[in-house]
């Protein structure tokens, strides 16, 4: 059971978008931005408020890749695997990160909830290939060595990589 504050915040978010069916996606996007994941309890709650069936809301939330019912790590690293990055060897970067964080294709979040590792099909930062983002900040021209350095810095919580809110 979630704390009441989660529901209060959700009410606030719904009020900002209006109680209509087409608010579903923007509302759950904001919930995810707020809590860094989409708590399943809140999805049902939102569906009720917007007058949509819970199954319907679930079908929408699971269709889009961005929504996650699992809590994510503090730092969400998204390695770009767009064409330009791929051609400039982004796979080596992903492999290095998986190796260092002890993650694989099925396990995306470290046990200490510090890092979540994902790939993204294109960040549109192709001139800076290979690129990755940590939360919203773009890191250009990465190499296996520089990503090792990066996660070391993040683990020590250096200010250079503070979370920027997704607004």
């Amino acid at each position: 059971m979630l704390e009441q504050s989660y529901y209060d915040k959700t009410d606030e978010i719904i009020a900002g978008h209006g109680m209509k069916k087409e608010s579903l996606i923007p509302v759950i996007q904001d919930i995810q931005a707020q809590f860094h994941y989409l708590p399943p309890e809140l999805l049902g709650y939102v569906a009720g408020k917007l007058g949509i069936g819970e199954a319907k809301a679930y079908s929408v939330a699971t269709f889009y890749e961005n929504f996650s019912f699992e809590p994510k790590g503090k730092y969400i690293i998204r390695v770009c695997d767009g064409t330009a990055c791929h051609v400039r060897r982004s796979t080596a970067i992903l492999e290095r990160l998986r190796q260092e964080l002890g993650l694989d294709a099925d396990r995306h979040t470290t046990e200490d909830m510090l890092f979540t590792l994902e790939t993204v099909s294109c960040l549109g930062a192709c001139g800076l290939a290979p690129a990755l983002t940590v939360n919203e900040k773009v890191y250009p021209a990465m190499t296996p060595e520089s990503v090792s350095e990066l996660i070391k810095n993040l683990a020590q919580d250096r200010p250079a990589a503070e979370r920027t809110e997704n607004t």
Partner: protein
């Protein structure tokens, strides 16, 4: 200031132009996604602070007296060389600027008009001071991107000073909606999102519907990997696109517009929101715009990570709060689009062309480009090319002119192999296509498509079979699952390609790939499915020998396909230190100390650890 009439607009524009004229120097720090990642925000802050500290020339001194304008502009395009700083009126372009360079830039250039030579672009021994003379820029024609990099992307006044909203003014006060549609039709503007469908025809269809509630939708869901033209327009000149949407709204009788932007483009969303807020505050959006009687509102919807939402009917479904899945047509979007109402759906670059056409006329628009593909096209030039970045050239420019002219040739002067055009829906163009004019029709003939405009250049070190697998993996992941040919067919194709790159492929599978690809193209429901097989079909046609190498000889000439790599130790270079053997996780390397070691191919798991570990460069991949 509220712009309530045409006269108010003129006043606002004069005021903005006056402010701009009083800027003795304009310092334009690129604040596109690329340069921001390189640290341009710190550069902007430092330069602004330096300017602020000086009397008489302070940025904060107000528009009425002479001052230095330090601005954050949209993408200048030369992303490879970022962070970029342009200084007007000299038009110097500084490349790879660092925060430490700011004091020198300020002292030398801003105060004393001298260039900082070491920050200028240099090519073949020539140093270029002026941005416009650099070959990368000199060979382009920036029409849609004219303001990108030249004005403050978050400032309505600068857009007005650059002639912004003149086209809207002309449409609202000098033209009937029908006349607007006629001009766009006559201009033969074609959809920049990939299909190349006539924009004027679309508008005419919507304007002619019985239903009077209509919508204007902008597709900013630029999902093709390797494309970022639309992102750059939304980030660098958001008002131009809004103006195009408003003109569309006026032409077809719509009162509301929706912009659907990819989730991966947070900066574009922010800049668009700022632009909409500014336009609303100024009275350029809302009810009764400038007293013309025309009202228009714009909403932003963020995508949620589904490539298929770039398809029209999936996009409108997503705005409605549904799963983003395409539906069968007819009815088409122009008849029943968003919320079941007639809808004009164009992409970002298409709308950004509209104000230019309305302001200058259809004949002017035809002066560039080819007969039936007039105007210019923005491309994202990336991959193994010297000058990566955002470019704009007239339609009909040849591939060779783009890669070797604007792009400056292949990185490290390696041999050219292919260009992948149009992303996962496109095909590859090879050496014999370098003279092909890039426009909608000539590419269609080659089995490729202009797509949204991503050009990924590849040299001989790229394996085309791997590239085909890469795109198929992408399409398979993004297939929405609604229709069988795409859902099942792309999976089967991917499995075959995975077999081939893993060395398990057979010659028969190549024919099966071809057959499957053609079947999917013929039978899939939406445009994405229909084009899903194109990268495979196109590489099969152009690089059949490479496929045969993989399936017959079990060999990848580029060494990209890990499973086909053969690691060999050069006995001449090996010092017998045993470091590779100690680090080999499979125990595949053996030998005697101080004598050359060797790799047992049967045990080798091709991880490459030995290559990384060898201090003498003795381990290599045999091609």
């Amino acid at each position: 200031m509220k712009i309530a009439s045409r006269d108010d607009l003129k006043q606002a524009r004069d005021l903005a132009a006056g402010t701009m004229e009083r800027q003795t120097k304009r310092v334009l720090v690129c604040a596109g996604t690329g340069c921001l990642a390189g640290g341009s925000q710190q550069i902007y802050e430092r330069l602004a602070k330096l300017a602020e500290g000086k009397d008489d020339i302070s940025v904060e001194s107000g528009p009425e007296i002479a001052h230095i304008g330090v601005k954050r502009s949209g993408c200048h395009g030369f992303c490879e060389m970022g962070p970029l700083v342009r200084i007007e009126p000299m038009n110097y372009l500084y490349i790879k600027v660092k925060e430490e360079d700011c004091d020198e830039i300020f002292e030398e250039t801003i105060l004393n008009n001298r260039p900082v030579e070491r920050l200028l672009y240099e090519l073949d021994g020539v140093r270029y001071r002026e941005q416009e003379k650099i070959p990368f820029y000199a060979k382009q024609t920036r029409q849609v991107l004219e303001n990108c990099g030249h004005i403050d992307a978050e400032n309505l006044a600068e857009y007005l000073a650059a002639g912004g909203y003149r086209a809207l003014e002309k449409a609202l006060f000098e033209m009937t909606p029908q006349e607007v549609v006629d001009v766009i039709t006559k201009s033969e503007l074609r959809g920049r999102g990939g299909g190349g469908f006539s924009t004027g025809y679309k508008w005419k269809q919507v304007a002619g519907q019985k239903e009077t509630v209509r919508y204007v939708v902008c597709n900013g869901d630029e999902g093709d990997p390797g494309a970022f033209m639309d992102r750059s327009v939304m980030e660098g000149d958001p008002h131009k696109m809004l103006e195009g949407m408003m003109i569309a709204g006026y032409a077809v009788g719509a009162k509301e517009g929706y912009i659907y932007v990819r989730a991966e483009y947070p900066l574009a969303v922010k800049r668009l929101r700022t632009a909409i807020d500014q336009a609303e505050e100024a009275g350029l959006l809302g009810e009764n715009i400038m007293g013309s009687g025309f009202g228009f509102r714009v909403h932003i919807n963020r995508g949620a990570g589904a490539f298929v939402c770039g398809e029209g009917s999936a996009l409108t479904a997503s705005i409605e709060g549904e799963r983003g899945m395409p539906r069968t047509k007819p009815p088409r979007t122009v008849e029943q689009g968003l919320f079941g109402k007639p809808t004009v759906l164009n992409n970002v670059e298409t709308y950004a062309n509209v104000p230019l056409i309305i302001e200058h006329g259809a004949d002017w628009y035809h002066r560039l480009g080819t007969e039936h593909s007039p105007g210019t096209k923005a491309f994202a030039l990336t991959g193994s090319v010297k000058n990566t970045g955002l470019i704009e050239v007239p339609m009909g420019t040849t591939l060779g002119e783009i890669v070797f002219g604007v792009g400056g040739g292949i990185k490290d002067d390696a041999p050219f192999k292919a260009v992948q055009i149009g992303g996962p829906s496109g095909g590859c163009l090879v050496t014999s296509n370098l003279d092909v004019k890039l426009d909608f029709d000539s590419l269609k003939e080659l089995g490729a498509m202009i797509g949204s405009g991503g050009l990924v250049v590849m040299d001989e070190s790229t394996c085309m079979v791997e590239v085909a697998r890469f795109f198929m993996n992408f399409t398979q992941n993004e297939s929405c699952g609604k229709c069988v040919p795409c859902r099942e067919g792309t999976r089967r194709m991917l499995e075959i390609l995975e077999d081939i790159v893993a060395g398990r492929g057979t010659v028969e599978q190549l024919d099966l790939l071809q057959e499957l690809g053609e079947a999917i193209s013929d039978t899939a429901l939406c445009g994405l499915g229909k084009s899903a097989a194109l990268p495979v079909l196109s590489t099969l046609k152009n690089f059949r020998q490479e496929y045969l190498d993989h399936v017959v000889d079990k060999r990848c000439r580029t060494g990209n396909c890990q499973a086909l790599r053969r690691f060999v130790i050069d006995p001449q270079k090996c010092r017998g230190c045993s470091k590779c053997a100690r680090n080999c996780p499979a125990g595949a390397i053996t030998g005697k100390i101080k004598e050359p070691f060797s790799v047992d191919a049967a045990k080798c798991i091709k991880c490459g650890a030995c290559v990384e570990q060898c201090a003498f460069g003795a381990v290599y991949v045999e091609n």
